[in-house]
C-alpha cells in the first residue's frame, strides 16, 4: 500500500513525538516533554529570553553568520576552482593540499581563529568558511572536470570566444554544482557556526545554548535547538528547493 506524501509526513512526525513523549515520561528531568519545550519556544519568541532579546533576534544573528560564511566558502571555492581550471600548476597545488585542508578538527580551527581574530562575528564567519571551503571546492572542481568536451569542440567550431564559452557553457554547467554545494553547505555550516558561538560569543543561538547549558536547563537548550532546526528546514524546503526546481527547469524533459 502506497501512502501519499502528507500522510507519510504526518505518520513520521507523529511517531517522533510519541517517542519523545515516552522518553519524557521515563525521565522528565533529562528529557523535557514536547509540551514544555514548545511552551518555552513560544515564550522565547514572543516575550524574549531572560537577556531581554527575542529568540528571533538570536536566530537572525546566527543565520546571518551562516549566510556570510556559506557565501564566503562558496565564493572562495569558485575562485580557486576556476583558477585551477585555467592553470595546471594551481590545480596540482590545490589537489595536493586539499586533503590536508580538510583534516583539522572544526573545534581546533575555531579556537585558533578566535585567538587570532577575537571573539566576534568575523571569527565565526572565517572559521566556518575555512572549514567548508575545501568541501565546496571538491564539488566545484568535480563540476569543472565533468564538462562535456564535445560542447567545447562545438563552440570552437562556431568560432566562439573563450569568454563566450565560459559564459554559455562553463558557468551554466557549474551552476548545478554550485547549487548542490550550496544546499549541502547550508546543511552543515550552521552546525559549526553554533559551536563557534558556544565558545565565546555573546549573541546568537550558540550563546543562549551555552547560557542555559551552564544553568543545567535542558528544556531551554532543546527549545533553541528545535527553533533552529525549524528555520533550517523551512529555508531548505520553502526557499532553496523551489529555486533549484525553477533554475533547472530545462532538466524536466
Amino acid at each position: 500500500m502506497k501512502l501519499r506524501r502528507p500522510a507519510r509526513i504526518a505518520i513520521s512526525v507523529g511517531a517522533f513525538l510519541v517517542f519523545w513523549i515516552a522518553l519524557s515520561m521515563y525521565d522528565g528531568r533529562m528529557f523535557p516533554s514536547p509540551a514544555i519545550v514548545g511552551g518555552l519556544m513560544v515564550e522565547f519568541v514572543i516575550k524574549g529570553d531572560i537577556d531581554g532579546q527575542s529568540a528571533l533576534y538570536h536566530l537572525w544573528i546566527t543565520f546571518s553568520r551562516v549566510l556570510m560564511a556559506t557565501a564566503l566558502a562558496l565564493g572562495l571555492a569558485l575562485i580557486i576552482g576556476v583558477a585551477m581550471k585555467l592553470n595546471d600548476g594551481v590545480a596540482k597545488a590545490f589537489e595536493a593540499w586539499l586533503p590536508v585542508w580538510m583534516t583539522p578538527p572544526d573545534v581546533v580551527v575555531i579556537l585558533i581563529v578566535m585567538v587570532m581574530v577575537g571573539f566576534n562575528t568575523e571569527a565565526v564567519v572565517l572559521s566556518v568558511a575555512f572549514v567548508y571551503t575545501p568541501f565546496a571546492l571538491v564539488t566545484i572542481w568535480q563540476g569543472l572536470q565533468d564538462i562535456d568536451t564535445e560542447l567545447i569542440e562545438m563552440a570552437e567550431s562556431f568560432g566562439a570566444s573563450q569568454r563566450q564559452i565560459w559564459q554559455a557553457i562553463f558557468l551554466p554547467h557549474l551552476l548545478s554544482y554550485v547549487f548542490a554545494s550550496l544546499r549541502h553547505l547550508f546543511g552543515m555550516t550552521w552546525k559549526v557556526a553554533v559551536i563557534a558561538e558556544v565558545f565565546g560569543i555573546s549573541n546568537g543561538v550558540g550563546s543562549r545554548v551555552r547560557f542555559w547549558f551552564l544553568q543545567g536547563n535542558i528544556a531551554e537548550v532543546l527549545a533553541y535547538s528545535v527553533l533552529f532546526i525549524g528555520v533550517v528546514l523551512v529555508i531548505e524546503y520553502l526557499i532553496l528547493s523551489p529555486i533549484q526546481n525553477r533554475a533547472f527547469a530545462w532538466r524536466q524533459a
Binding site: 564535445e150 562556431f158 551552476l175 530545462w250
Partner: protein, 272 residues
Amino acid sequence: MSQPAPTAMTKQSEPNSDVIEFSNLRKSFQSGNETFTVFEDLDFEIAEGGFTSIMGPSGCGKSTLLNVISGLIPPDGGEIRHNGERVEPGSFFYGYVFQEPRLLDWLTIGENIRFALRAQEVPPEDQSGRIYRYLELVGLEDKIDSYPQQLSGGMRQRIGIARALAIDPDILFMDEPFSSLDEFTAKELRQDLLEIWQETGKTIIFVTHNSSEAVFLSDSILILDGNGKLFDQVSVDVPRPRQIGHEALIETESAMMERFFAHLKTTSDDEQ
C-alpha cells in the same frame, strides 16, 4: 595513389563550375615513438554548391579528413586550391553538424542558435530574424522556446542543422549526422536535408559509413579504404528528386560496393 574507376571520370563538373581542389593531403599522428598515418597522397576536388560524401569503413580517417578540410586540425602536407588559387587550410567559412546534436541543454532552442550567431558576431538586431527563419527551414519554429531535452532525437538533430545553417556558411560539414537516429527518422531527415540543400544552395560535405545514404544524397562520393587511401570517386548521376530504392540508385550502390570489396580483397592479398 588514387585510381578512380572509369565511371568516376564521367564527372558532371562543367568547366565553369567552381571547385575546391585538394592535392597531396597528408595527415599522421604521433603516438609514442610510432607514427600513425591516417591518410597520405589524397587528391580530390569538391564542386561548390554540390553534395559530396566522404565514405569509408569506421576508423578510416573520414572524420579526420573532415577536420583537416575544415581547418580544425592542420594537415602535415598538401595543398588546397579554390578556383585555382591556393588557400590556407581553415580559410573556409563553414558550419558544422555533428553526429550528436551537441546542443546546450540549459538554453532554449532559440538561444542555442543565438549562441552560434553571437560567436560569429552577427549583429544583435539580425539575430532573432535569422533564428526564426532557420527554425522555419527545418520545420521547428514552434519549438523556439522549448529546451533541447523536451525534443526528440530527430528534432534535436534538425536544430543542429538549423544552427549550422544560421551562420550562413559557405560549406556545411556533416559528420555522420543521422547515424545515431532510428532508421525512420533518419530517412525523413535525409529527404528534408536534400530539400534544405536545394533551397539554400550550400556546398555540403557529408561523412558517412552508410553506402545507400551516400548514394541517395550525393552528387559525388569519395571512398576511402581502411588504409586512408582514396580509392574511388563515384559520381551519382541520378536525377533529382530521387526516390529511395530507385533502380539507378541501387545499381550505383551495388557497383560501388562491388569495386570496394574487390579492392579490399586485392589489398589484403598484397599484405599476405
